[in-house]
Symmetry: D2
Subunit: 345 residues, 4 copies
């Protein structure tokens, strides 16, 4: 069975952890390189006791130096790095002939001005933006196999865009009326020694944050705009809730089409998509059904009192929202079955 | 110190439990009667070991018979009963001269037709609707002292209406543009032997429910309509999240006034209200700061990109959303300090 | 790839759910029959939305009638039924030529008198006790391939016995001095509409239960007695804590050997066991590293002040404590790789 | 109503937070000073939004300088500081005439050699050890009123010692046979920016730690030794579980008396103690019944199979295990009702 040599750059956060979890048992992946500046020299199984017993559990973290990474023979590198940092590694590793699946925000936006507006700095590698492919397979699967550089979408954007895109494409909703609330598990905030992320601060707590202009709005509106064929500006409020992983998203928008057309648009777009599970009218997606998987569940409802359609989605923020989707891109990139290594429930 | 004789009718659910918790240490309440059909004959401290050691912990539950309730000398009865059931007790106990604070939905709506639309049955005691006072002290404090029958507002309605009413009164938002998402702790679903409420079903789960027409919309829209001076129809999506108690509510609406006017309207309405804590612009209310209390925290934000204002509130669904607010009404009804028995943090 | 036809009898509880989760993706299992009296006629994916998208998600639950079960062609039946009920199905299905892996307590005890003492009733099928194999592969792997009837061990017994058996065999501890405390996730109490298992009753709660003579003591002491070569009577206190799945077990016993011998005994017994991960001296096993897997992690410590050895283990009560171990037995029974279908992390 | 001027030194951790919560509404406490080096200049309500609306919420944190503390007029100082640091403040503030209630470990041990053994350093103020009173009111209430320096007991020691002391005094158990397991909520680990205390590391995790010689053993064995009239050495294993606050303790010991004597000893010791609630034989204490309170619940069971008695206790680690007990000491010290400010449920 063909196996591709893999590097995971920046493997000590929660996204890196989920990537490792998936890649350690992936039938077509051979993990040859993991990096972590703070943990260089330690074995995977030492830093993450959960992985003891895996075939590659004895692989040691190395410093994230492009020379050393390339020397491991890695053919594909996953970047699980902060935005701003990932771009430099992408450049260096592309030069050395690796293909890149970047989980940061660095290559998700086509317009470097939008990057600057939302991330505050000049884009670190604008020359690469043109060739980067926004890796939402259900939307642009065809562009992935030939890509050198894939930008895996953000967690909120995936949960918001997938339900909306078919409706915007078919012009079934008013693009100016979109209001979204999302609830994210705490892993979405990253693995940081931050008092606000302590168990005793998050347990029994629910709160909005990042209002009114969360960074993810930039890529959400970019993708929705493409689907709508016009500029989309929307209201988005993320919340932190005491679950480990999972995003529950509720979107409301003015319906301009009919409820039947909503259902048809979703069916047309996703009936054949393995990782999109349509729950139909009245289906209230629940994060507990998708944790640990690459599925996104999507239900919808029509509110005749307000003339609004509700889109109700659930995904694992570390799964379809990050690591799972990155592996799905990897499968497509390398020509494997799209579900390889992602078949657990 | 003057003490009023109190009965709690239907004291075995989570609302009853919170009421007992507050009344057991209330300086002006003398608990003389608690009822529970299933637990008649058992002591409070036996059913709720948490209350062992309280002055009234040895009081025994009795069957909820109006004669027997009145015979205890109770002057004020709190009804913590299902809707449809509460109305009958209210009638009987009013006849016997008790004053009633009803925590069910039976007397919250002025129009029996709306009751029928949302609750499915004919109203059980329409003749009492006129005199019932919707007990939101911050909105109609003056009507409470002379009331015989107070309808304590619902948990979602309190968290949604209090932020919105000042803005609607001042015509600062477009009433047709209101979209609300709320996240409730599991206690809001009641103490029922229902598989969907098991720890293993709720833990690590987040999901919408009751879409698109939750019963609480009826009283929310009634109260918002009064404030707006016109009919209000809004979009409301409740969610269940794995916290014990607490409601986090996020409301988005088109701003027709200015951000400064939003702030001024909230300040004017609530600066002197002890139980409403204004967090100001950018204040993201967090349920963890209000659990176990009668406070509601309210912050807001303006999104110039969409022209929408966000209202961010947090309350304890069993506190300001139920038992705490009922006790606040009791204090006003009886002429006590409004904060009596509600001063814990 | 060879696939064995499988039936899961009683598939609607948490143990059944975990079995299904594992069997749905097992490379050598073909699920041909699932039963559930209450859910007959419903599809697996309908009852458990998590499984939508699995190959067998459309299989329908049938009534648990032996004739109908046999008619599906099932070769191996997993019984996830209450004790007392399982025995009857075992008898019937054995007669029809199926091999049985029973997850109940019915065939774990060799002595029907002990069964009666701990379970209160006469044993329902004492004639089968002799041939039943107590399926703890790390202890009696050799007996499994030829068995017709395997009794999968209980969750507490697995977490307690595996660390103790090597020490008792080598006579390194005083068998009369064993004191064990275990903490179990709430799924261990089953999927029952019971008020005490509601989220609001379990969240933020920790308590002992089932003292002083939990039913599982019967099989623990049976197995420890065999290892020790003498009767063992021990102290065991289980606790319920607010996690979904996982058992953390701490055992203290008087050391009669040396700390080095403790380590050697554990290494000798388990160094080559894939599913037992030895953490060494000072290793505090953590449930979070084993959830969703078939691993049991075992650490130990020596307390020179008291002369006692501590054994610290962690497993998933639904994994190595139930469904995972049952699948491990299945793999051995059918001659597959012992880790088939159990390789996730 | 008489009010004593209070200082809380080191008020930004979880113990300080709980102390503030209790003192802000204590009828006889006037909070005049709170210190926090990192938060000097900020208001209480700013650092802890939960306390907004309290009478003293606008009091500002100051640097912890003894001069400045004394200048506030404080009569009693609570020290919520790390061990080793508290002793210096105690010395300085005693000199300035304040009475001290120290919540650290600095004055709990009578023997500076034991301090050095367990805490690693020479005792910072050995001259004060003689006059310090170990503030376990149920054991030495009489020594408290005349004390200048009270050492509030640790959280684990309170939960372990209170059940054991009456049995050791009456010589009903074998002191060499004591084995204790405790489970603590995460707040017991303090408010530290430590990766291991993140929500995603603690949620769904249960594990032992601090084995085999937790620091609290020093004071536990000191107090048990006094009760037994002989040196006591015991086995103690603490565990961390995913609850916010609460300690559940299970102790097993060989019974040398009779079960009836166990019950009688507990009744004699605690029947009149308000904050000790005896659950009797078979009573499995549950942390959920004591959170937020100063109660400790104690049940027990006899295991005739092993001849062991089980002691099952539950307390709030921040309540009876820290802040609540400190306030109880304050009440006794100042001659107030022992339950003042501690009457919530």
């Amino acid at each position: 069975m063909k196996r591709v040599k893999i590097a995971v750059i920046g493997a000590s956060g929660y996204t890196g952890l989920e990537l490792l979890r998936l890649l350690l048992t992936h039938p077509h992946a051979e993990l040859v390189c993991v990096t972590s500046r703070q943990n260089a020299g330690r074995k995977i199984g030492e830093l993450f006791p959960r992985f003891t017993g895996a075939e590659s559990a004895d692989l040691k973290f190395i410093d994230p130096e492009p020379e050393a990474i390339a020397a491991t023979g890695a053919e594909v590198a996953f970047l699980a790095l902060p935005h701003g940092v990932a771009a430099g590694y992408a450049s260096s590793l592309l030069e050395k002939g690796l293909r890149i699946i970047d989980l940061s925000a660095d290559f998700r936006l086509e317009d470097p001005e939008v990057y600057k507006e939302f991330y505050g700095d000049d884009h670190p590698a604008p020359e690469l933006l043109k060739e980067a492919v926004y890796g939402l397979p259900e939307v642009r699967r065809d562009a992935i196999p030939s890509a050198r550089l894939i930008a895996a979408p953000g967690c909120y954007p995936t949960s918001i865009s997938l339900p909306l895109i078919p409706l915007l494409r078919e012009k079934l909703i008013d693009p100016s009326s979109i209001v979204t609330c999302s609830m994210s598990g705490v892993s979405g905030a990253g693995k940081k020694a931050d008092l606000s992320l302590l168990f005793c601060e998050c347990n029994e707590s629910a709160r909005a944050y990042g209002v009114p202009k969360h960074r993810h709005l930039s890529e959400i509106e970019q993708e929705l705009g493409k689907a709508a064929g016009e500029k989309v500006v929307m209201s988005f409020t993320p919340h932190l809730i005491p679950v480990h992983n999972g995003i529950c998203t509720t979107t409301s928008a003015k319906l301009t089409g009919t409820p039947e057309e909503v259902n048809a648009a979703l069916e047309t777009a996703y009936a054949d998509e393995h990782f999109v599970r349509l729950l139909g009218k009245g289906g209230c997606a629940d994060t507990k059904n998708v944790t640990g998987t690459n599925f996104i569940d999507i239900g919808w409802e029509y509110d005749e009192r307000t003339g609004r359609v509700l889109l109700l989605s659930a995904e694992d923020n570390l799964g379809k929202g990050a690591g799972g989707q990155a592996v799905q891109n990897f499968n497509i990139l390398c020509g494997f079955s799209e579900t390889a290594g992602l078949q657990n429930f």
